[in-house]
Symmetry: none
Subunit: 207 residues, 4 copies
DNA sequence: GATGAATGAGGATTCATTCAT
DNA sequence: AATGAATGAATCCTCATTCAT
């Protein structure tokens, strides 16, 4: 039943990077927790940096897959748009919930690494933003959103917003308190999408 | 006209922490750039951690002062609220613009440090959130916002939103491109506050 | 037609020892270049040291065989002596030419190994010197050389001379330049033997 | 009376490099024998390689100074030439005698290091050869030696000869036996220069 | 206040060797 | 015979911190 050693190392490393940060995680910590010898680490990875980059790369792929599922393909009305946005947000939160360490590393701790690590993290964020921009552009083309001629800007705000939310929600102080995953995710999503589309003032009647 | 050595060290350290991250910044880097001897550092600070904490503490105070200026005191209408929000956002962006290193350290790089550093950074963020919560609460009391019974949640979304925005705006990739500070800040603020209050769909006519 | 794995390993190891030096050659380099697995190495050799010693031992035997062919057996005149010396030198150079890696390892790189390796190399050199001493002694007994009562010293000078020559000739910088093996070896031998018997001033008329 | 720490490290390192070889010498060996902490080493040198290169560079300068003193300047007869050659050889042997470790490292152990170290050593040898070539050329111009149109070749033979001699003489097996420095050096020089100019057959009457 | 040499614990990485298959 | 994953001692180097001057 023993899982692949490489997978094990990747998993353990991610957990430690997310918990203690990249720098503060020693290779010796990783192998100790994985229950293998120090040298074994170097059979699979040439360096600590390499395992970091591989984690980011794999995470990026998984994350983008989730984001891309939200890609708008057909014409719809505002209500459709709300629905699909809600679904995307929910998927993201659920993904984050079951890939907590990955998200923490990507969104919060990635900047603690060395240059290459930081760059890889940044590229991941940019990829997501690019996807959001495509999404907005598509919504505009389908006349679901007004063309305010600042797609890039809107995508950046949206990305910032969602990343900010996720960071705080899943891993922030609030999280220390009680938090019933599924129900909460529903509620939270509702409120977020509400905010996303209608802002603080919002469309009175909702909810 | 030589500035106080301690101030110099604080400034240089902040710059390096923001550029390379806390861990990657060596005390020797700090003293080299400050042009003093290694030992001098330890005359002013007992450790690298101490200088980090002091930077965060001072930054927190300055930042809170800006946030508190936005505290709503009197009754007003929606337009007043938009105005004051815009002013707050503008102040925050301007503050970030002239305290770039501080903001980078607090918002992006702070999580790269050791536990104490990370905690100090987190506390700073929480303080800001608390201020925002007070702000929203006050707006509700003044009947400027509908009481949706989730002030905490709203404050968190708002904080996430604003922090996300600032991170991306001031220091993200977009920033590499041309960026004429003041004008841009105005535009950006406009769009942000729009989003803050009306969301993606927003109140049609604006802009 | 695959050659014996052990022979292959010996050959590859020698090549690498000669190229990069004993220490700098990793067992993993050897097996990689030989195209076998790491474990296979240890089926044939108990350690890296063992393969090194075996290479030296085999090389020593081959080398001594060459040197011994030059052993003087019968009375002769000065011209005979020159002829046989020339033949010996030529044989040595030819041997070195077709056993380049062995000679490089023995003469140049052998001192880079650990104690046992270094000792084995030294013993090889001493064996050669002993042969030369016997040769000189024999020439004296046959009245072909004057007995200057310092056979040991002469043998040492001679060995130093020949080893020095070989190191430089076969593997030194000159070698990087064009070098037509056989012709060159003839010329070189001529000059060397000339030097060996007549020194820098030499017997005027020669050549 | 404590000597400069850097000098001490250079000296100790050279001794160990000469004794155990470059690779086999650990930085921890060096600092242990020098009686300083591990970190102190890195205050003066950025790496083990650096100290190796610095040792070679300094040694090269000292060695070339000795060789250059033998540069022939004025016309003379054969006897003069013998005298000056003897002086040069004697100086070299004396230098080697009091810089034993340096010579061992340069002539015997240098090839055990990594590429850069090996190259630096090779360059040193080449420099010496170049000096010898100049010397021979000068002797030819002064009509002290016949122009046999192979100065390069002669210089190489001569260098090989002298290096070979020095290696074996000062540090070879013979040396393990009794060896009364000065007297011996005189004798040895006599025999070497004899050999250098007259070869094995030599000029009958000598000695 | 200031210097800069010295410290040494700690961390990443290497590599000869082992061993289950 | 052969494999290749696993081992862990050994080694180079880093860097926060100390201290004599």
């Amino acid at each position: 039943m023993k899982q692949n050693t490489k997978e094990l190392l990747l998993e353990v490393a991610l957990e430690l990077f997310a918990t203690k940060g990249y720098h503060a995680t020693k290779v010796s910590d990783i192998v100790k927790q994985a229950g293998v010898a120090q040298g074994t680490f170097y059979w699979y990875f040439t360096s600590k940096e390499e395992i970091g980059l591989e984690i980011i790369e794999k995470g990026k792929k998984k994350l983008l897959k989730v984001v891309r599922k939200g890609y708008r393909k057909e014409v719809g009305n505002v209500s459709d748009m709300l629905q699909s946005s809600k679904r995307l947000m929910q998927n993201l939160l659920l993904f984050g919930d079951s890939n907590r360490n990955l998200m923490i590393f990507l969104l919060l701790k990635g900047q603690g690494g060395e240059e290459k690590i930081r760059n890889a993290v940044s590229e991941t964020i940019i990829s997501i933003e690019t996807e959001f921009a495509k999404n907005i552009q598509r919504a505009i083309e389908l006349n679901m959103l007004e063309d305010r001629d600042c797609v890039e800007l809107q995508a950046q705000i949206l990305t910032s917003f969602i990343i900010g939310i996720m960071s705080r929600w899943l891993f922030g102080p609030m999280n220390q308190v009680d938090f019933k995953p599924t129900t909460s995710i529903n509620e939270v999503t509702e409120e977020i999408v509400r905010y996303e589309f209608f802002g603080l003032i919002g469309s009175g009647g909702k909810k």
